[in-house]
Subunit: 208 residues, 2 copies
């Protein structure tokens, strides 16, 4: 499943959530690519193209079975597994992420929290103790954790990321507003709030 | 500038940041659509199509002037103006947003914070006092604020949003993991962290 473009993966997640909503509201059991597209704001052709990467998921002329497609997408994306995660940074953002319910729902479980602030080390966030960054490398390696969430200030992020990679981390979800330079085989997803700000302002400007 | 698709607006923000980075690092002064595309991970054709919505921004066969294009994009998006914003929710996420530097850099300034939690009302976040939700409607109307950021739990978000719209809010940046149902002319940007989680897991699955 290499070679699937990043925007397609993002849309798979949108399709997944829309199907979940349909199931929760006990709506349609069969959905066409037109309806699915409408539900998430893309064309039917786009839906068909995105799903075509994964073989034949629907039935031509009939549509997709809602519950089956949701399960297939969950499996394709990886939402059906449990992924232990380390969080670096126990500041406001880090703490917000610990309490973010969707996190666990989608299979990510924060199992360790690290920070370099002596005032935070030893405290708990939810039920998880905050440990010193100095313990990070050994614990990540020992537990074989593959995913890290970086929620430290911009100027600390690169150094933290390098340490994580050395410890065996293969995927980083980066909330620090800085571009991480790492080995090419490391997955880095940058959560960039500024695109939200941009869309907000652009659209507001065009109605007032 | 109506009719510009949302993905185009998101990419405009990416182009803007990439150009900013070039300027900060004193790199190229002229950039081709191929290079700009490479910098943000899209095709040259996509770059040209996105920019074509706004008339002739470059010079055929030569490229775009980096500093001029950045300025033009900033103006198109609206990053060149200052927008006062109210924040609802002074929990971990709300506080993280107050301290998020990019916010101010891009022109958004949080001027009021509201919460319904008596333990939070009266405290300050940075220099801004947390006020009671009960004061929200009057203050928003009185100050003529148009943008609100919602960082309250999912179950409170719809009610808060309706109150904000009644007070004159025209654009909402929603961090609550719930779909807001509002008048069609209200701009709602949903910040959905689950698409980041999806991309992270999907990509990790494909390397391990």
């Amino acid at each position: 499943m290499k070679g699937v473009p990043a925007p397609t993966v993002k849309r798979l997640v949108l399709y997944y959530h829309y199907l979940e909503e349909l199931i929760r509201n006990e709506r349609e059991q069969i959905i066409s690519s037109v309806e699915l597209g409408k539900g998430v704001g893309v064309s039917a052709a786009q839906v068909r193209k995105d799903l075509s990467y994964f073989g034949s998921l629907g039935c031509k002329g009939v549509g997709y079975q809602v519950d089956i497609l949701r399960k297939q997408l969950g499996k394709i994306i990886g939402f059906n597994q449990r992924w232990p995660v380390v969080l670096i940074g126990a500041g406001n953002l880090g703490r917000a992420l610990v309490y973010y319910e969707k996190f666990r729902e989608l299979g990510l479980e924060i199992v360790e929290i690290f920070d370099c602030d002596l005032n935070k080390i030893g405290n708990k966030v939810a039920t998880i103790p905050v440990r010193s960054n100095k313990e990070m490398e050994e614990l990540v390696r020992q537990k074989g954790i593959k995913i890290a969430v970086i929620a430290v200030p911009a100027e600390e992020a690169q150094q933290v990321a390098e340490l994580l990679v050395r410890a065996g981390i293969q995927a980083i979800w980066n909330f620090a507003p800085v571009h991480l330079k790492l080995r090419k085989d490391i997955v880095v997803i940058a959560e960039d709030l500024s695109s939200g700000i941009g869309c907000l302002i652009f659209n507001l400007k065009n109605i007032i």
